[in-house]
Amino acid sequence: MEQTKLDEIISANGNNRKSIIPVLQEIQATYNYLPKEELQYISEKMDIPLIELFSIASFYSSFSLTPRGKHLVQVCLGTACHVRGAHRVLDESKKRLQIEPDETTDDQQFTLKTVNCLGACALGPIVVIDNDYHGNTRAQKVNAILAQYKSVNNNGNDTTE
């Protein structure tokens, strides 16, 4: 990111301690993660030790220190989803993507995350991919849902398997 953009983010939120989280949220939204260089710049500019930025970035689950994939797959593990079999949906997602939660597929297409309740419990188990809610998901449906997001690469091959 250009430094001017970072400066803009800082000045829009205010160059003070209480703005750290909003600033980091904006960087996360832009990059899909918090790149090291950007954090270093912020640290200097806002006069907050890098170690503290790291501590905040690792404490809150909406930040990521590694790049996330093109699609974010969030499997809700709220209680309502859990009692309706969300763990089996998660197992199936892991199997189909061949990654564990908080990991990204090698081709950078999918990042898998679990989330503690999205507040749409009536539709549980829920999988949210990017901004799409897939309600009443069953393990048996996972493959078909993921398929909607799989892009086709230049060779015409499916890139995720």
Binding site: A120, A122, Y133
Partner: protein
């Protein structure tokens, strides 16, 4: 906009209430699509789109299309409420595009409640 006074509030209230209750006399129906997170997740956007499409293709000007938040009955989403002047509201549930189009032509345009998609007539109780 100038700051409101207590009297301004009352004026706004009166005017807005007449519009909402279809008492202005210019609107012949109101359709409210319930669009909280649950509703949207179950497909309320498609319902809204279908309604707007109907309005556009039929070139209708006197029907209010509006949205509101969650209607509370999540397992029946997507939901919509149809109001006709002087008639109790009718709640429709578990909507699909096809259902709302039917409701549009039969209930909104023709005044006949589509029984098989309707959940209830009337409004919720407020203490």
């Amino acid at each position: 906009m100038p700051k409101l006074t207590a009297d301004d509030l009352i004026k706004i209230r009166k005017k807005a209430r007449d519009t909402i209750n279809l008492r202005k006399g210019t609107d012949r129906a109101k359709i409210t699509v319930h669009m909280g997170t649950c509703g949207i997740a179950s497909g309320a956007n498609d319902i809204m789109e279908a309604v707007l499409q109907e309005i556009e293709t039929r070139n209708i000007k006197d029907i209010i299309v509006t949205s509101s938040g969650c209607a509370g009955f999540c397992s029946k989403e997507p939901m919509a409420t149809v109001d006709l002047p002087g008639k109790p509201p009718v709640k429709y549930v578990e909507l699909t595009k096809e259902k709302i189009i039917k409701i549009f032509s039969e209930h909104i345009l023709d005044g006949k409640i589509v029984d098989k998609f309707a959940l209830a007539i009337g409004s919720e109780r407020i203490y």
